[in-house]
């Protein structure tokens, strides 16, 4: 079981979600986040006063998958979230020890 955290451009979200559904991944948690890596922000000017806005809006997708699905999911996200410009985001992978479905207390991969 692995957890995929992918931070992506909001504009790519629909394509990523559709592509993941095509390979059989339905469940995910999405959060609106702000941040920046190497991408610099932009400037806004209000009556001559310039403000640098360096935290930009992004979307964070989280999903926990059985091992055999992980590589395909990563490939799919890479393919669909990429625009080729700075600011496309990152994918983080981490191992998950346990998963429990609250409704019926199923455990492990059955709970996914």
């Amino acid at each position: 079981m692995m957890k995929i955290e992918a931070i992506i451009q909001p504009s790519r979200f629909e394509s990523v979600k559709d592509a993941l559904r095509e390979i059989g991944i339905e469940g995910m948690t999405v959060t609106e986040v702000r941040g920046h890596g190497r991408q610099k922000g932009h400037t806004e000017v209000y009556r001559g006063r310039e403000y640098t806005v360096d935290l930009l809006p992004k979307l964070k997708l989280e999903m926990v998958l059985p091992d055999p699905l992980v590589q395909r999911a990563v490939d799919t996200i890479l393919k669909t979230a990429k625009t080729g410009k700075i600011g496309d985001g990152k994918i983080f992978l981490s191992r998950v020890d346990e998963a429990i479905r609250i409704r019926n207390e199923e455990r492990g991969e059955n709970a996914l």
Partner: protein, 485 residues
């Protein structure tokens, strides 16, 4: 100690209010005086009676007067409502959007408070101080408690509408003027200090200035025997220079907002400001065209001039931004429009459409330069640019009125007599300069003194912790946006 003084103040105010009905004489009921038309219909409907031609002519005369009064009164009542709409919701939204979200209700509350506070003061003494008597500096108490202000017109000011209409129309100007100042004190002035300061300011600065420029016998009055005839159709000096210059003094006296200019303080909702600015544009037709005090061709002329100046200023400010920053902003376009409205205010009833375009275009550029360059050179924190737009725009407008005013539009000095520079009467520019300098000095001195007085009684500025927490919570105990509730 300070707190106690304030409470006493409130108590006193309540007592005065409670005593008003006992002191005031009954306003003459309108039914008794204003319906000669109704009485006429019965007598005129009897054909073949022995009415002479002269009687009939007299009746006709009365009917014509009544008809004109009806038309004028309708327009003036609508205009009064339009001008009130400029403060709430117009200015409240315009300013409300420009502050940070933690100060939204506080700034809106200040505009709304003035709608109530100035109205009460106006009924008690305000109207009388502005338009009673014929002294050179300030009116008298003859209309205190609105004595004698009823259905009968006051021929000195507006001979075709009930004086009560004139009174309620002028009140709306007295409301928006102090409200404009709150743009400079935004995000850091105590509510109690704001209430006290603006009450004093209305009585000590606004009332005399309004009397001097518009009141009979006033020092600067152009048509009713002033020594320095300053042309001010709808309030360039009385409303915009007075509030704009006072705003600058307030900004300097209060000091900068905590964190200014290092910390970013972008407007929290330009959508609110946008709606506010559009309401101001519409409301301003009541302000400027209504200042003709009748539904006549002068009102049309002022309406037209107002509209074209505003459009030109929105364009010139946007162009300046486009050249400077590579992009025109929505905030720039609406700020330009307001600058144009301000600048055309003194000129509205004196200039044609082409000079109006010029005045607007110039005002947009000057005000843009004031808020983007001059403000940062001197480093004062005029939070929402009350001085940059109203002080500067009002000054430019008042001076340009002396250049562009024409007797074909408004023969204010008598038929055939030249009015402004375009008529060859360049001396008027000198008169305008006197009016402008006078309004500047009067507002400057008055505001400094009143701020000192306020500072001694209630204090003027909130503590740093209160400022950081925001005025909505610390001054009013509520928040503008409880989106999760």
């Amino acid at each position: 100690m300070k707190h106690l003084g304030w409470k006493k103040c409130c108590f006193l105010m309540t007592m005065v209010l409670a005593a008003v009905p006992l002191l005031a004489r009954q306003i003459p009921s309108s039914a008794a005086t204003s319906s000669p038309g109704a009485a006429l219909t019965t007598s005129a409907a009897a054909p073949g009676s022995s009415t002479t031609v002269n009687d009939k002519l007299a009746q006709l005369d009365q009917r014509v007067t009544a008809a004109q009064s009806a038309g004028d009164n309708a327009w003036m009542l609508v205009s009064a409502a339009l001008v009130l709409m400029m403060t709430g919701p117009g200015l409240a939204l315009f300013y409300g959007g420009l502050v940070r979200r933690k100060n939204t209700l506080a700034i809106m509350m200040q505009s709304f408070l003035l709608m109530a506070l100035i109205s009460v003061l106006w009924a008690l003494v305000g109207y009388s101080l502005c338009f009673g008597g014929n002294g050179p500096v300030i009116g008298g108490f003859e209309h205190a408690f609105l004595r004698g202000v009823g259905a009968e017109p006051n021929p000195d000011y507006a001979g075709t509408i009930p004086q009560a209409t004139f009174m309620i129309y002028q009140l709306m100007f007295a409301i928006i003027t102090p409200a404009l100042i709150t743009g400079a004190t935004a995000e850091r002035m105590k509510f109690s200090g704001t209430v006290l300061f603006l009450t004093l300011w209305f009585l000590v600065v606004y009332a005399p200035l309004a009397h001097m420029v518009w009141g009979k016998g006033g020092l600067l009055n152009a048509s009713l025997g002033g020594k320095f005839p300053t042309l001010d159709f709808a309030g360039g000096t009385v409303v915009h220079i007075s509030s704009g210059v006072s705003a600058l003094v307030c900004a300097l006296y209060l000091g900068k907002r905590t964190g200014y200019p290092k910390q970013p303080m972008p407007p929290h909702s330009l959508v609110l400001s946008f709606i506010g600015a559009c309401l101001l544009w519409v409301g301003w037709f009541g302000f400027n065209a209504g200042s003709a005090l009748a539904a006549n061709s002068l009102a049309t002329s002022a309406f037209v001039a107002t509209h074209f100046a505003t459009a030109a200023a929105a364009i010139s400010w946007s162009l300046a931004e486009w050249f400077k920053n590579g992009r025109p902003s929505a905030l720039g376009a609406i700020s330009g429009a307001v600058a144009g409205l301000v600048a055309i205010t003194p000129a509205a009833g004196f200039v044609g459409p082409m000079p109006a375009l010029a005045i607007g275009f110039i005002a947009g550029l000057v005000c843009y330069w004031m808020v983007t360059k001059v403000k940062s050179i001197f480093g004062y924190d005029d939070a929402l640019d009350a001085f940059g737009v109203h002080g500067a725009g009002g000054t430019i407008g008042a001076l340009l009125t002396g250049v562009f005013a024409q007797q074909v539009i408004n023969p204010i000095f008598g038929a055939g007599k030249p009015v402004g520079g375009m008529d060859g009467h360049w001396g008027q520019l000198g008169n305008q300069l006197v009016g402008v300098l006078f309004a500047w000095s009067f507002a400057l001195v008055g505001t400094i003194v009143l701020l000192k007085v306020t500072d001694m009684i209630t204090g003027v500025r909130v503590s740093e912790t209160e400022e950081i927490e925001g005025l909505d919570i610390t001054q009013h105990g509520e928040e503008a946006y409880n989106l999760e509730s």
